[in-house]
Symmetry: C2
Subunit: 210 residues, 2 copies
């Protein structure tokens, strides 16, 4: 299969690319590095990326920024960051990617444990965006044509992100206090299951014991 991994140069994406490269042609796309570049907030940039890559069998997205801050410091503009980036960025990869995906291909997006079921301090926008993505995937998957499937991987914080947060972003590490981080290798398995399996409209949860 020809597989496009948008976010393929990030912490999660790198592991996904590594795992899938053993048996597939994998194209890693990054914001500023990777084999191709894309700004997912700009539909023209997404169109340009697909025009260069051409037809493909699977698209994986591991991208998306969301504003993380106490609710008391958030207004309309702060919520728009996640809506424009992690939500509509990934949704537009699907809406535009429809024109390039081959029959029986698949889309696999990324959301997270923080989606309403496990709220964290400062995570109101994260919860909104992750829940929105899961609602979209579960509904839109049932309207995709030509045998095309769509699933989403909802992950908790991974070990590497937690280590980084402890050093550089203590508020994020604090918000996940007591949450069990998972290995990126476990997350990569979920993406493989989505791409190589037959399921559709599924949310794959890669969570710790809490």
């Amino acid at each position: 299969m020809k597989i496009v991994v948008v976010g393929g140069t990030g912490i999660i994406g790198k592991k996904v690319v590594e795992r899938l490269s053993a048996h597939h042609e994998v194209i890693a796309v990054g914001r500023t590095n990777g084999q191709h570049n894309v700004d997912v907030t700009d539909p023209a940039s997404i169109r340009s990326m697909f025009a260069k890559i051409g037809h493909f069998d699977a698209l994986i997205s591991t991208v998306g920024d969301v504003h993380f801050a106490p609710l008391s410091e958030m207004g309309d503009a702060e919520f728009r960051v996640g809506l424009n980036n992690k939500l509509m960025g990934q949704v537009n990869l699907v809406l535009i990617g429809r024109e390039y995906i081959r029959d029986n291909g698949s889309f696999t997006l990324t959301s997270g444990m923080v989606s309403g079921e496990e709220p964290i301090r400062g995570g109101a926008s994260i919860a909104m965006v992750h829940a929105a993505l899961e609602g979209f995937v579960k509904a839109a998957a049932l309207e995709l044509p030509r045998g095309v499937r769509m699933n989403i991987v909802a992950m908790t914080i991974v070990e590497e992100t937690m280590s980084k947060a402890l050093k550089e972003f203590p508020a994020l590490a604090d918000a996940f206090s007591g949450y069990e981080p998972v290995l990126t290798s476990r997350v990569a398995l979920a993406f493989q299951k989505s791409v190589e399996g037959i399921q559709n409209g599924r949310v794959y949860r890669v969570w710790g014991s809490n």
Copy 2:
């Protein structure tokens, strides 16, 4: 209690106003009618509404437009309708309303059965927006100050809307084929439970047997 019902002139809102008026001071707000007017897509209009109404004990919202269409006919612009209107319209009622709500007050928003759990044909954007609202409410409710609570009522299609759809909008009636509509009086009960009770961060489902 002084209760503001945004959408208080609509099919659902009217019933909510009627039920709560027996024991409370209720202010019905509509887009173009009611005691006050508001355009929820415009934060300045929301500010102006609250400035006129002043402090209140409970805000109920039963408003919000979302684009309903087959996924094959939807692009970025069609998804933005629901994000700007039903999602951020209601979220901005909360974000701005925080400045006017009294201690131990409550916000109660509206989502729907079509949120990923019960997808309908043409409902990808509806599912996205409803799920987003529920994610927001469940997370943000835990960060509200001064004893303020927030819940959301997730309703299926009501009898009156179904009757209207059968005559004026057959595609919507078709999408809900086999779904059991509910009475607006049952929906009004859920809003009363949210306002007069003690629960927080809850999704009240007012659904039929399927």
